[in-house]
Amino acid sequence: MTSRRLLLPTLLAPLAAPHIANAQANEVVVGTWGGDYAALLTSEIENPLLRPQGINPIQELGTPAARKTKLLAERTSRRGSMDVVCLGDSDCHAMGELGLVEELTPANVPNIAHVLPALRSPFTLPHIYSVRVMLYNPATIAPPPTRYADLWDDRFRGRIGFSDLLYQSISEAATIVAGGNESNYTPGRDRLLALKALGARVYSANETLAAALKSGEVSATIMWLARGYMWRKAGINMHTAMPAEGATPYVSAAVVPKNARNKQAAFAYLNAMLDPRAALGFAERMGFLPTTSNATLPAPLLAEIGLTAEQQAKLRRPDFAYTAQHAAEILNFWERAFKA
């Protein structure tokens, strides 16, 4: 009799065990990029700031597309698989618009009070940011480009290359050159085709583009300033040119899903992401700027990766609602007309 009474709880125990264990261990599951970013999350945020509070972060590494898809697929689940989801600013905005993520306020994430006003958003925690610029090889490109439109000059024929991953950014830059704006990329299509006629190459990843820049196969590209800083550190002869049309920011951000299992720990994680003590590591290693006013960087580093007051004032604003609605259309044109 005793053994029969024990049978059901014994069989059910494994089902309940993970939840009990999670709660006990105060685990927070963080969906994030791998590589330097994940390593820096561990060394600058998780180990020094969160583990002493008894929070045990577990990183789930993958692509942003996979994390976004997971958030969408799990939207009807009571309990999601991630507590903190790191995404780019446009994806975070889309998740906020769909009502899938928690609103962030100084009440749940106190450090939000220090976020630069231009980068604030109700559902998004802006972690670090950089801007889109032109990179060129000073040994082969003279005079340097000063605006996006310069890249369409005949002197760049056969010398431009792009990363396939940045298709949306390149489409947006082409639109700016065509006199359009971030709310409609259609005017940029002709400019993209003109670039194709100039022999612009497309590389499957940022790393393959870096190899092409290093070998001299490509002399100029449109890329994030932070990536240019990393490549310079890796020995690639690349200078940065801020586009006169105004640079566009890219914010690496994070959200907390409404169905996160451990929201308190997730909010604590986001708060730690904005801790000024964590900013230097991301700036030194990845070239990204802190998004808060209370984080300071050494002047020489700031000169390499920062923006002047004038450049700050000219920053452009992406239209996330447009890109979310027209993502398939932008990708289709890139794949079929530009790349084909």
């Binding site: 597309a65 996979a66 969408l72 497309v202 590389y203 499957s204």
Partner: protein, 275 residues
């Protein structure tokens, strides 16, 4: 006796049929740029994929690559399989291990090797430039040729092992009898060995063709971003475009075309075998 297939049958049902049924259901949904997809029962995704010249071209490239790779595998695989089948048993196990050896290296790692060989600053271009044969590097990587070479290197062992198993079953004395009756070696191959090895040719070709039609890593890495085959196109729809319904429809079209061509090819070769 039927119960013996139950464990395998259940496994297939659970891990293959059920996900495919789900995928088929998704392919009938409507795409929503913001909400992933909307519940629907409509064939629009299939009609769009079939009518679209872009995907017709992608399917054309996929079939060209798959046919070329299968033919190349057959041409280079048959002599190797024959040699393997007629080898004495002492050395055979070593030869089989050597044949299978390329399969022990992952597709991505293997492709990285090809990239180092075929790249602009790769071993081939460096050698040709060093010898003064060329002044500007040749475009070897990111071409259809690179993809075909890369895929053949992956799938050739399947062809060789399948053919070798069938050739082993052909008694050597039949070939000797043909030779004794005055048939030259090429006639022995054409009139005796090849017809008897036809079941192996069919099985090997089907296996290799299916693998080639569904190749993913090699076309992406060696074909570059401008080269498109069906499997990477399906992946792009799911991951880059987040268009699950259209990606699912493309996946089913790829499945049906592969199945159709496989059945057709087997039937044609099978008829020849019966004759």
């Amino acid at each position: 006796m039927a119960a013996l297939v139950l464990p395998a049958g259940l496994l297939v049902l659970l891990l293959l049929v059920a996900p495919m049924a789900m995928l088929f259901r998704i392919s009938l949904n409507e795409y929503s740029p913001t909400q992933l997809m909307l519940e629907a029962l409509q064939p629009g995704n299939y009609l769009r994929a079939i009518a679209d010249p872009y995907y017709q071209a992608v399917m054309g490239t996929t079939m060209t690559v798959a046919f070329s790779c299968t033919l190349l595998c057959l041409i280079i695989g048959f002599p190797a399989a024959y040699w393997l089948a007629r080898m004495d048993s002492k050395r055979k196990s070593l030869a089989v291990i050597l044949t299978v050896f390329p399969l022990l290296v992952g597709n991505v790692v293997r492709s990285a090797g090809w990239m180092a060989l075929l790249g602009r600053d790769g071993a081939i271009n460096a050698t040709l430039r060093g010898l003064g044969i060329i002044s500007e590097p040749l475009q070897l990587l990111y071409t259809q040729g690179a993809v075909i070479i890369g895929i053949v290197a992956v799938v050739a062992p399947y062809m060789i092992l399948t053919l070798s198993a069938v050739i082993e079953g052909i008694p050597r004395n039949i070939e000797e009898a043909a030779g004794n009756l005055g048939a030259p070696p090429l006639t022995v191959f054409r009139r005796v060995v090849l017809p008897l090895a036809l079941p192996g040719v069919v099985a090997g070709s089907v296996l290799v063709f299916i693998l080639c039609m569904n190749a993913y890593a090699t076309p992406v890495l060696l074909g570059g971003p401008q080269f498109k085959m069906m499997a990477p196109a399906v992946y792009d729809q799911f991951v880059k475009g987040t268009n699950w319904p259209f990606g699912a429809a493309l996946a089913f079209i790829l499945l049906l075309v592969t199945l159709g061509l496989t059945v057709l090819g087997s039937a044609l070769l099978g008829r020849r075998y019966k004759r």
